[in-house]
Amino acid sequence: MKDFAQTRPVPRAINWNRIEDDKDLEIWNRLTANFWLPEKVPLSNDLQSWSRLTDEERTLTIRVFTGLTLLDTIQNAVGAPALMPDAATPHEESVLTNIAFMEAVHARSYSSVFSTLCTTAEVDEAFRWSAENDHLQAKARLILDEYDATASPLRRKVASVFLESFLFYSGFYLPMHFSSRGRLTNTADLIRLIIRDEAIHGYYIGYKFQRGMEKLTEAERQEMKDFAFGLLFELYEIEARYTEELYDPMGLTEDVKAFLHYNANKALQNLGFEALFPDEACRVNPAILAALSPGSDENHDFFSGSGSSYVIGKTVATEDEDWDF
């Protein structure tokens, strides 16, 4: 006999001309405008640069990328889908399907890098490494446990923002480091596309978290904030160990940790919280910042006291019809 109590209700057809939250449409438009596939990036131009890396650097790169692949796989298959039943609007659900799919594109991209630059044996070894690496598995476990906790939609969002805006960065550091030295520059272009997407994901999920927080009592908000900072501490401990294991041999650990602190603070800001790490702990190597946003520092701002702020940079598309003057 059919159990009618289990029958799901027919959803209402989504009407994008009746928007309940403007942010849904804004983010949908931004994400779809930014759509890309790894085939867009001429990765094979990095073959020569790849061949000039040391064995140690090559192994590190492949391992870092399998670690990133794992995070994207989780976000694609578990993270973004886990947020969908919590969606406050039907449009939020649609945005989350875009996020889920782009995470699959990101995960797929690393395999494009591998098939272009590496041997099958090297790649198989790195995937084995990622499946067995205690730190990588531990951070994945912490996040998955929050996704599976049925009680709290907001805790799921916290975990998701930490994955999107914090956990990726121990990995993203390496291609930015290479790029700042003119190495693997096409791979870096691909990573920058991923970074751009993850920034919107963290921003949007953090925004939805803030809307959810508004519905809580002051005491519940404090409890949620304590949970978020607690989870960040736990993840940071693991990230610090993971960073040491990967980057100690190259002498880059302290540089990477500054980048972790900086990104942890940005993840907290996405959730509407204040920074945790003091500015002194977040002094990211300027070469890494320049690799993240190439060109954006060419026009120094007025208050930093260097350069001419009146020299305005490249021509960009603006909607002139919106400006009367």
Binding site: L292, S293, W323
Partner: protein
């Protein structure tokens, strides 16, 4: 007195920056008629660009600046953004600076760091001291 005008969407980063500066400010509404300014001021705005840089300046900011007498009083722009958006980081500042012939005073990420707050407070204080000095009001 440091007159600031700012737009912040409900993600709240720019509003948090304004709060932490502690200098007050005139908020621009997301919809409806923007306020009009009657004294020199600095604009603080987020950036909403896609990958090609389109749509960098939020619509409420455009509506605000379309009023010529208000625009004539604009002395500079502080742009919020995120370096993760690469070349379009804080692009709204560059677009407004070019269109209005004013300097980008500062670029900050999200709600800004403590260092940003100190730097902006000091910068604004100098800027407005200069503006208030009778001989140095820009033509």
């Amino acid at each position: 007195m440091t007159p600031l005008a700012f737009y912040s969407s409900r993600s709240g980063n720019t509003a948090r920056l304004i709060d932490r500066l502690g200098l007050g400010g005139t908020p621009l509404p997301p919809v409806g008629d923007p306020p009009r300014m009657d004294a020199p001021f600095v604009l603080v705005t987020p950036t909403y660009a896609d990958g090609e840089g389109r749509g960098a300046v939020p619509k409420p900011v455009i509506r605000f600046l379309n009023h010529a007498p208000t625009r004539a009083l604009l002395r500079g722009v502080i742009a919020c953004g995120n370096r993760n958006f690469g070349e379009t980081f804080a692009l709204a500042g560059d677009v407004i600076a070019r269109k209005c012939g004013v300097p980008v005073l500062a670029r900050v990420e999200l709600a800004g760091t403590e260092t940003d707050i100190i730097r902006i407070r000091a910068g604004l204080s100098h800027l407005f001291a200069d503006l208030e000095a009778p001989c140095s009001i820009p033509a």
